[in-house]
């Protein structure tokens, strides 16, 4: 989708859903993305799947992102694919760490079930209305969301000769 088509798409979404649904558009490297208010995600994706004149029937991917230090920090990206027009469209939304709530799209795209669980597991974004909001990859008793940028790296320091002086009392 080119930049003009993206703007026309954004206008159609505004008319169909709400004026405040689309926050902005972004087009770079032949990749079109639609920035959406988090509360309107479900409505926008419903329109894009069913109502629009150029429908996007496949949710190719759904993933999270941490934009630290900019606010709001957390992002959720929906990559839509249209097999009719062979085009892709990114739908992005941003939520804060304090209120990380996004409506689920599991009822629209069943594949979003595991993807949303993974985003919840690694970034802590809670998808409201999800049928099974649990961790999917990390152990169930794991604390924290390890893909956030302020999450500690983990692991253990390995003793080499170059960092021997940085590990005090390593011989204990």
């Amino acid at each position: 989708m080119d930049a003009t088509g993206l703007e026309m798409m954004a206008q159609r979404v505004r008319e169909a859903v709400a004026d405040d649904a689309v926050v902005g558009t972004h087009h770079a490297y032949d990749s079109a993305s639609l920035e959406v208010a988090p509360a309107r995600v479900h409505d926008v994706l419903t329109h894009l799947r069913d109502g629009d004149e150029q429908p996007y029937g496949i949710l190719a991917s759904l993933h999270g992102c941490d934009y630290l230090p900019s606010e709001p920090r957390l992002g959720v990206h929906y990559e839509l694919l249209s097999m009719q027009s062979r085009e892709r469209l990114n739908v992005k939304t941003r939520v804060t760490v304090e209120e990380p709530h996004v409506p689920t799209v599991t009822d629209l795209f069943p594949t979003a079930n595991f993807h949303e669980r993974e985003v919840y597991d690694f970034f802590g974004v809670v998808f409201d209305g999800h049928p099974d909001m649990r961790r999917i990859l990390m152990p169930e008793d794991y604390e924290g969301h390890p893909q956030r940028r302020d999450f500690p790296m983990g692991g253990e320091p390995v003793l080499f000769t170059f960092n021997e002086h940085k590990l005090p009392r390593w011989y204990d």
Binding site: L137, M138, P139, P146, M153, G154, G155, E156
Partner: protein, 233 residues
């Protein structure tokens, strides 16, 4: 192995005639005693037992990550021919395996599963940590992995490499054989509480308790653990 054997007569024809005489019952007293002594191998029972164990190391077919491909290459391929060391029979049940090769990275979600598989293996059992990841988390120094499987398992041999060459893994198996022969004492594993942890399906009650040496200290832990008790019934 320490073997003593009295020296037989060198001439093959003489030995053959004496064998004929023995079979016909013509050898008596000192001649018979000498004949028997020449055909006996004398050693300690522990040595013979360890000799049998080191030459029948059955590995568990258990792969964790990319090192598993290398492990399959070593164990399963005729080029490396691990049957020279008696370790080519892969068993996919922990009850029939002697050796667990930790081939790959150990994630914190996989660690309890590995420990339970190790607990299910019957004594005597050995563990080889194959590759940098199983030994020290290797390049994956992050939130998801256990940095060194020796935090929850008693590991006998560490094989470095990423992945190790087949020769390296075979050398590790040979080192394990030397360890079985020369130092079969498993007492240092007590701090892992890894003795007497076998699960006995179909048996219940006090007669199901294993009679091995570590049973006393582990018995309360297993009886409290309802998760291990549940599948027995």
């Amino acid at each position: 192995m320490d073997v003593t054997r009295s020296k037989p007569t060198d001439d093959f024809r003489v030995r053959q005639l004496r064998a004929q005489q023995m079979l016909r019952g013509h050898l008596e007293d000192d001649d018979l005693q000498e004949y028997v002594e020449q055909r006996l191998l004398l050693t300690k029972f522990e040595d013979a037992q360890n000799w049998a164990r080191r030459n029948a190391l059955w590995p568990l077919g258990f792969g964790l990550a990319c090192c598993a491909i290398e492990m399959i290459t070593v164990i399963g391929s005729p080029r490396n021919d691990l049957s020279r060391f008696g370790a080519e029979v892969i068993r996919f049940s922990p009850r029939q395996a002697d050796m667990l090769i930790l081939s790959g990275r150990v994630s914190i979600k996989m660690a309890p599963i590995i420990r339970r598989i190790y607990d299910q293996m019957l004594e005597p059992k050995w563990v080889i940590s194959m590759g940098a990841c199983a030994s020290s988390a290797g390049m994956f120094n992050n939130y998801a992995l256990v940095a060194g499987a020796d935090k929850f398992l008693p590991i006998d041999v560490y094989v470095p490499g990423c992945p190790p060459r087949p020769e390296a893994l075979m050398y590790g198996i040979m080192k394990l054989q030397d360890k079985i022969t020369s130092d079969p004492n498993l007492g240092w594993r007590e701090r892992y509480q890894s003795q007497g942890t076998e699960e006995y399906p179909g048996l219940d009650g006090p007669e199901a308790e294993p009679s091995s040496q570590g049973a006393g200290q582990d018995a309360p832990r297993r009886s409290k653990d309802a998760g291990l008790d549940a599948p027995r019934r």
